[in-house]
């Protein structure tokens, strides 16, 4: 046993003596009450106070319980026939007990008052009790109050009026202080987080019990030879008071009960969890619905959530939102961070984190993979977008450079041809050169269009697809339910889906026509190319469709090729906008 526990044992024995001694004094003074029942609340407070001091040394509730034991049995010791004892007993002993109880209730579970209002209310309660005690101590004259057997010195300033006035003032002050106390308790509840509210629940039970006891006070009497009903009420009051420290103690030690929830967590985590379910399990076990779990990315100094989305560092989150961070480590490296309600017991959070260690490690790996997948997807999208921008630049360069020069050359040739009209051989040669140049210009134009069609940049998707349809060897019907511009990369991908699909229809489908539908629905661009040909197209074969599928999926779209039962081929791409 540690020195501290020996100390507690000694304190316990001393206070046991204090209680029993008080009752012994009462018995000898022939106080006609049930001494066993009178001792019960004190014994209950003493036991609970000692356990609280032992198990929750950081909480001041244990000390307050002990103080209550000391103060509330002063009254019994007041029956000792020595100077000043009755005065002290009937002043401090009767006045301060209630103030200590109120202090205990409002400062529960730490024993520390938090707000200025709480301190003011409790201060006022102590003040009124202290002043009343002082007046009684100085002015109480038991003989004047009718105590014929009291054979000791009267108070320094005996005054029956002063005592009566002090008692009256204390009673009136109660009418103000009780509502203020209830208001402070109510404010406490309003500000409390869910975890704190669970902790505060015992407080309400205690406030209820004390309230009931006080209400019953008007009807009670400790003397069995008075009315038997009043004596019964007094017995009931004492039994109720026995429950007060038990409820407090139960609340203080309830994290031990919460540990059984961590036990349930172990069982729950034994089976495989869907992604992100670990957070819900931990939140349930710890009773904190707002709990967040972030995972550390090894080697990157970054944090992600279970979905792999990057998140800011837990310390900054906790600083902004007044939350507490518990870091879970393995082999000296951070694995995860639990961001939770500051009211949660740190030991309980550590226990839950330890119980969920394997699951946390697993989910961290999954989150890491998701984060990497997300990065690959983003880089793929950037590559496709950069490719489109490059195609646009190449087309522009062809237009500004080679196409311009060839057009100028064509004009020069035309002039040369005009001046050579008198030389038929030369004219024929120049005509041949001009025809070659026209072919070259047409081929270059087609090449530039294939790289990136200017009409797509100029006029947008529906117009570019219309132009594509106009140039197609087959009749193509275009239906578009929108006219506005879409983001450049999306327009380019959709355009090339239609271009490739129509090229395939012309080459392989033996179709008599095709139909292109462009529609926007719920933030998605839907591109559909259908023909009435022989079908049989397969996206897994042929580099053209495969390349399209890659480009569409790079922007998180879906692409598929279907061969409907009625014949023909359907190419369908859905691209999120």
């Amino acid at each position: 046993m540690t020195g501290r526990r020996w100390g507690l044992l000694a304190l316990g024995l001393a206070l046991l003596g204090w209680i029993i001694g008080g009752e012994w004094v009462s018995i000898h003074a022939h106080v006609p009450e049930n001494h066993f029942i009178d001792a019960l609340p004190g014994l209950s407070f003493l036991l609970a106070g000692l356990v609280a001091l032992d198990r929750r040394p950081s909480s001041r509730i244990g000390r307050l319980m002990i103080a209550y034991v000391v103060v509330s049995y002063l009254g019994n010791w007041g029956n000792l026939q020595v100077p000043a004892a009755p005065a002290i007993g009937s002043s401090i002993g009767q006045q301060l007990g209630g103030a200590i109880l109120a202090h205990m209730a409002l400062s529960y579970p730490t024993g520390r008052l938090r707000t200025r209002f709480e301190r003011a209310v409790i201060g006022a309660i102590y003040g009124v009790a202290g002043l009343t005690s002082l007046v009684i101590l100085l002015a109480f004259d038991p003989r004047a109050a009718g105590c014929a057997q009291c054979a000791w010195e009267p108070a320094p300033f005996p005054s029956k009026t002063a005592v009566l006035t002090a008692n009256l003032v204390a009673q009136r002050a109660g009418f103000i202080l009780v509502p203020l106390f209830l208001a402070a308790a109510w404010l406490r509840w309003r500000r409390a987080t869910p975890a704190e509210r669970r902790e505060l629940a015992p407080l309400w039970a205690v406030v209820g019990v004390v309230g009931l006891v006080d209400l019953l006070g008007a009807f009670s009497s400790p003397y069995p030879d008075a009315q038997s009903f009043a004596y019964l009420i007094w017995e009931l009051q004492n039994v109720l008071y026995v429950s007060v420290p038990i409820v407090f103690l139960w609340g203080l030690l309830s994290t031990r009960l919460a540990r059984s929830a961590v036990g349930d967590l172990v069982i729950e985590l034994d089976k495989p969890l869907p992604p992100g379910a670990l957070r819900a399990c931990l939140a349930r076990a710890l009773g904190d619905p707002s709990l967040e779990v972030l995972y550390a990315r090894h080697g990157l100094d970054g944090w992600v959530d279970a979905g792999g989305q990057p998140r800011s560092a837990p310390e900054s989150v906790s600083a902004q939102q007044a939350r507490t961070v518990t870091t879970v480590e393995r082999d000296g490296r951070p694995l995860a961070a639990l961001i939770h309600d500051p009211a949660l017991d740190p030991g309980l959070v550590q226990a839950a984190a330890a119980a969920a260690g394997m699951s946390i490690a697993n989910e961290r790996l999954q989150a890491e993979v998701r984060a990497q997948l997300e990065e690959v997807r983003a880089s793929r999208q950037r590559i496709v977008e950069a490719g489109d921008a490059e195609r646009r630049r190449v087309e522009r360069n062809i237009h500004d450079g080679a196409q311009q020069r060839m057009a100028t050359l064509a004009l020069s040739l035309a002039m040369l041809r005009d001046s050579a009209s008198r030389d038929p051989a030369m004219a024929a040669s120049l005509d041949q050169v001009a025809a070659e140049l026209r072919h070259a210009i047409a081929e270059l134009r087609e090449l530039a269009r294939g790289i990136h069609p200017a009409i797509l940049t100029e006029e947008g998707l529906p117009a570019a697809v219309e132009a594509l349809a106009d140039r197609s060897a087959l009749p193509v019907r275009v239906l578009a339910d929108f006219d506005e511009r879409l983001p450049g990369p999306i327009e380019a991908i959709a355009y090339f889906v239609v271009a490739e699909a129509l090229a395939n229809v012309t080459k392989y489908a033996c179709a008599s026509g095709a139909r292109v539908e462009l529609s926007r629905c719920n933030g998605t661009l839907r591109v559909q190319v259908a023909d009435d040909g022989i079908g049989g197209a397969d996206a897994t074969r042929g580099s053209g469709l495969r390349g399209l599928e890659d480009r569409v999926s790079a922007v998180r779209g879906s692409f598929r090729v279907e061969n409907p039962p009625g014949g023909g081929t359907l190419v369908l791409a859905e691209i999120p906008l």
Binding site: Q403, Q404, L411, E459, A463
Partner: protein
């Protein structure tokens, strides 16, 4: 006639070709904004207007020049094909379009709806 194109080589050839065909070329401009100023100052009958200009587009120039009282006939030119611009050529208010390599007195007269200068 006013020739608007950002390539000096093309402007020179076009000027020579059209002058030989009897057109009087009164001015040249290398970008859209100066084209609008020159068109206002010289009041040409015809503006040969490249669509792809370094500052504003030929469509914008056509809109600005065409909005003036007694506007000139605007003929759009480009080294691209008319189909590369969709309906924008129709909507521009220009008299017509000629691919640059096809530019000649004959194609110009066809667009302007007359037999010669």
């Amino acid at each position: 006639m006013l020739i608007v194109d950002d390539h000096p080589g093309f402007r020179a050839q076009a000027r020579a070709l059209l002058a030989a065909a009897g057109y009087e070329v009164v001015g040249e401009a290398a970008d859209g904004k100066s084209a609008v100023g020159v068109a206002r100052d010289l009041s040409p009958d015809v503006v040969l207007l490249d669509i792809q200009l370094p500052d504003i587009s030929g469509f914008d120039v056509a809109y600005l020049v065409g909005g003036r009282p007694d506007p000139p006939a605007i003929v759009l030119i480009s080294s691209r094909d008319a189909s590369d611009y969709g309906r924008r050529i129709e909507r521009s208010g220009a008299r017509g379009f000629i691919a640059k390599a096809e530019l000649s007195a004959r194609t110009l007269a066809a667009v302007l709806g007359r037999t010669g200068p």
